[in-house]
């Protein structure tokens, strides 16, 4: 039996949209599941839910919206994706409701509701990690400072912040990590994504990129991931960690998974 409290909650967040949060979340989860870990991915991006298209799921009877509304327990929301994952571990998925009516409903919640939602997110540590003995719970969040993403950050043990090299993204990420994450004393790692390959052509170039972003963020840069044309071409629907284990992108994810495991 696994010791209580060993599992980790990882929130994947970014300052701007389009940084590759969902793709990295899904592939990181698949990497852990391939290693035999028991993993759960939750779509907490209630403004733009996307996990249903990545996993090609039609939804379930209940959504994460229902769980946060107190209308059901978390086990009613989770879909077992293990058979499609082709992994030795377990992969569960919790979807956000993509219907327009649900998006409108989620954007009109008051502070009291957000406080209760925080309580329900915090209680997942007990239900999913301690009682169900999952190893990792990954939160895919909305970009920027939304209620739902800050709730996810407060509930997480580790936060991975994805940034591109876009100057406004780098500056916004730096401000956000220091003005928000520091206040909650979160373990934070930076992932630089979609970095042009020519920036990383020699070991010296790679080192200087790491140093540059570590100096900017004063946080550990866990990985600088090059921009892969075939990853972009796949349109965010391919799970590389499952379908292309030898792809360099999958190798990068493997290294990220090990670093987060030791974080």
């Amino acid at each position: 039996m696994k010791a209580v409290g060993v599992g980790k909650i990882i929130a994947i967040h970014s300052y701007k949209g389009g940084t590759g949060k969902t793709l990295l979340t899904v592939n990181l989860a698949a990497t852990y599941a391939r290693r035999g870990k028991r993993v759960c991915v939750l779509d907490l991006d209630f403004r733009a839910p996307s996990l249903q298209s990545v996993f090609e799921l039609n939804g379930s009877e209940y959504w994460l919206n229902d769980y946060l509304n107190g209308a059901c327990e978390i086990n009613k929301v989770l879909v077992d994706y293990t058979p499609q994952c082709k992994c030795s571990g377990q992969m569960l998925v919790g979807l956000a409701n993509p219907a327009t009516e649900a998006l409108r409903d989620m954007s009109s919640k008051d502070r009291k509701w957000e406080m209760r939602a925080l309580g329900r997110l915090l209680s997942l540590k007990n239900t999913l990690l301690n009682d169900m003995e999952l190893d990792y719970l990954l939160f895919d969040t909305s970009p920027g400072l939304q209620y739902s993403s800050i709730n996810a950050i407060v509930s997480a043990d580790v936060v991975l912040v994805i940034s591109t090299i876009d100057a406004s993204d780098v500056e916004g990420t730096r401000r956000m990590t220091h003005e928000l994450y520091d206040l909650f004393e979160k373990k934070t790692g930076i992932l630089m994504n979609k970095v042009p390959i020519e920036f990383l052509s020699t070991p010296v170039d790679r080192d200087s990129v790491y140093k540059r972003f570590e100096n900017t963020h004063t946080l550990p840069v866990l990985k600088v991931i090059p921009c892969f044309c075939d990853v972009l071409r796949a349109g965010g629907t391919k799970i590389f960690a499952r379908d292309e284990p030898e792809h360099p992108f999958t190798k990068h994810l493997d290294e990220i998974a090990s670093k987060v495991e030791a974080f």
Partner: protein, 120 residues
Amino acid sequence: MGRLDVKNSAILLEKIKESLDRLNEKMEVFIEIQRQGGKPDFVVQDLPEALDVMTLLSLPDHLRKTAVAICKLGHATAEEVSEQTKRARAVESGYLNQLVLMGYLKKERKGRKAFFFVER
């Protein structure tokens, strides 16, 4: 001394102990306020709506740490909060009582123990 007297004395002592506990908690709040320059670092005006993340962000660092711990624990004593925050129990007791005065937390007694919680 008769059996009834012994029983009455025990009840009386228990009541004195509870009063002293309450007095002690109030003293801890005053000591904390004193430590921060004689003024509370909050103003009790209208009762706040909720202890949501935006409220957590607006709290001073020392109170935020306590408030986050109680959000995670749900329902806890000062001792349990101090185990999370790695600060002294008396310090946490002071901060928790400040959060009660500010209207963000509720407090209830069960026997000798005082429990703090967020009313959701």
